[in-house]
């Protein structure tokens, strides 16, 4: 378990060969319903994986299992070689649809800082531990710079726009220099420019630090060129693989157990059409 001081010191040792996440035969049953089952997934260090699927398919549930917030009903999940448990400082987490109300009067910078020392008990007076406080401030500043949020980091977080809040929240997840980033629909309700910018920032930082990224998305549009693999969850089952394998008529038909067609548009985009009338479009950027 990483301590605050080891976080502030040099980056911790990373074992390049051990899978970051390993789920074998995983299943979750809640309230008498099976959310998903027969899930086998291995995430390698530095991988960027998109988690896709229709509403209610259990994408957030999968994230919560990996975070150790929800136990599996069947199968086993290990994270960094250990059984998944809550409070893992090595995972940076950006939960779903979180936006601060307009009247929250705390600086964005302090929200980011909470990601680093928010779990620490003891009086919050910097003068009690001056050197550490300085190191914390510097790290917070660095991570805010890395997401290009310096201009508004000192404003009350309730007063800045959704896209700006989201950048600071990503910074909060990054401030502990995590080995894995889990982002649950971070690009929802952002305009295209912001979506692309944030996706690019995540990709760049993940590459620099070697962190694995699990990103839940509705529309894989802005991240198609960044992702390594896709986890597609639908109707209780999961398909894992590269996009060209998973987002195909054959794979998705098997997954949905009903006719699903994947169409290619003339500019290289992918459109998924199924019997539910659900239409999700994916575009490849060249």
């Amino acid at each position: 378990m990483k301590t605050l001081s080891s976080t502030l010191a040099q980056d911790s040792e990373r074992n390049p060969t051990e899978p970051v996440v390993s789920i074998v035969g995983g299943a979750v049953r809640l309230g008498g319903q099976t959310i998903w089952q027969d899930v086998n997934l291995e995430v390698q260090p530095g991988e960027f994986i998109a988690v896709l699927g229709p509403n209610g398919s259990g994408k957030s549930t999968l994230m919560k299992v990996i975070l150790g917030l929800l136990p599996l009903s069947a199968g086993a999940v290990t994270v960094f070689g250990q059984p998944a448990r809550g409070g893992n400082q090595d995972i940076g987490y950006v939960p779903q649809r979180r936006s601060f109300e307009a009247d929250v009067r705390i600086r964005g910078r302090d929200i980011v800082r909470l990601g680093l020392d928010g779990g620490r008990w003891g009086p919050p007076f910097p003068f009690l531990y001056p050197r550490e406080a300085k190191a914390i401030s510097q790290r917070v500043q660095r991570v805010i710079e890395s997401v290009d949020a310096v201009a508004y980091a000192d404003r009350p977080i309730g007063q800045i726009s959704g896209g700006q809040q989201q950048r600071l929240l990503v910074a909060q997840a990054l401030v502990t220099n995590p080995r894995m980033l889990i982002l649950d629909e971070p690009l929802d309700s952002l305009d295209l420019a912001n979506q692309q910018a944030i996706a690019w920032i995540i990709r760049r930082i993940a590459k620099e630090t070697g962190a694995a990224v699990l990103l839940v998305a509705h529309d894989v549009n802005p991240i198609m060129s960044s992702i390594d693999r896709v986890v597609y969850i639908a109707r209780g089952h999961v398909a894992v693989g590269v996009p060209t394998e998973v987002i195909t008529s054959e794979t998705l038909t098997k997954l949905y157990s009903s006719p699903v067609e994947v169409l290619r548009t003339c500019d290289g985009g992918l459109v998924v059409v199924g019997y539910t009338g659900e239409c999700v479009s994916y575009h490849e950027h060249h």
Binding site: G86, G87, Q89, Y93, V104, D110
Partner: protein, 315 residues
């Protein structure tokens, strides 16, 4: 209520002389001691009450304190004990309600409504059967009697307040995290629900202690108003904590002094001072913003200082 039936002390407008004169009376020394200790705690706890959007719960607890005190008196046990027990029980109940603010407030409201009914019952029984001995009455519980605190009571208040302040400072960071960002905090291993309950207990004990000084109906003002001003003045959380404490102490000291020299009830002076401060800060900020808007309208090309007052349009 004021116990000064002697001729009112004269204000000499010599600050040092006035203060010395005031402190000649041991009831004033006790009042200042207890009041300062309570202000420190009220400022700290009050800040979190605002951040956690639990203003209604705080107010409800002060009403519960009233019922507890009355109940204790009627049942023949120490009113303070009755108050503390019922307030803590109420706090734990409230702390375990649903998380969504509107549902939570509704649940608080229903419990509060009944607790007030109980309070009426106890008050009626009290006035009918138990005579007003040792200066205890419904009025003193409702409105406080800081000027009749004994040295012993003051010492107890200081000790309890010190304990609460220490406990709160120890959990300040995780509590802030859990209050502002519960999902991420939980993912980081912060015991969000447990901290919530712990905070409610701290709030309950604070309310029960402060009731003795400013009374059940006005303890809420000391909790809410200095912290409300503080969080308008600064957006740094730990600085806001300090400012809240300073403002609470200031209100109490000035309120007690004004009460001493005017004969008005101290709890009223303290509350109205804090309220005036709150309105003043909100008002002056609103006026500043208006002026800035007008100014920028007249000078569309000028650069405005990054005051944080102008916000970009939200998506």
């Amino acid at each position: 209520m004021t116990a000064l039936d002697i001729s009112f002390p004269r204000l000499t407008w010599n600050l040092w002389l006035d203060v010395v004169h005031m402190f000649q009376y041991d009831f004033m020394r006790n009042a200042f001691l207890a009041g300062t200790a309570l202000s420190v705690v009220a400022g700290l706890v009050g800040y979190f009450v605002i951040v956690r959007r639990q203003a209604f719960a705080g107010e409800a607890l002060s009403d519960v304190a009233f019922t507890g005190a009355m109940g204790g008196a009627v049942l023949g046990i120490n009113p303070l004990a009755g108050m503390i027990v019922l307030t803590i029980a109420g706090a734990l109940a409230m702390g375990s309600f649903a998380q969504r603010v509107s549902e939570r407030d509704l649940a608080i409201g229903t419990v509060l409504a009944w607790v007030l009914g109980l309070g009426v019952l106890f008050l009626t029984l009290f006035t009918a059967h138990v005579s007003g001995s040792s200066g205890f009455s419904g009025v003193t519980v409702l409105f406080g009697s800081i000027l009749s605190i004994s040295a012993h009571q003051a010492a107890v208040i200081v000790a309890v307040a010190g304990g609460i302040a220490l406990a709160l400072l120890l959990v300040a960071r995780p509590l802030l995290f859990a209050s502002v960002d519960p999902d991420v905090a939980a993912a980081r291993g912060v015991p969000v629900r447990l901290l919530g309950l712990f905070f409610m207990v701290l709030l309950a004990v604070t309310v029960a202690e402060a009731v003795q000084a400013v009374g059940a109906l006005l303890v809420f003002a000391l909790l809410l108003l200095p912290a409300a001003i503080a969080q308008r003045l600064t957006t740094r959380p730990y600085a806001a904590l300090g400012v809240a404490v300073v403002l609470a102490i200031t209100s109490t000291w000035f309120g007690l002094t004004i009460g001493f020299y005017s004969g008005l009830p101290s709890s009223v002076c303290i509350t109205l001072l804090a309220f005036v401060g709150y309105v003043g800060v909100i008002g002056s900020m609103a006026i500043r913003r208006r002026l800035a808007d007008v100014w920028s309208h007249d000078n569309p090309n000028s650069q405005l200082p990054a005051s944080g007052m102008h916000q970009e349009t939200r998506q």
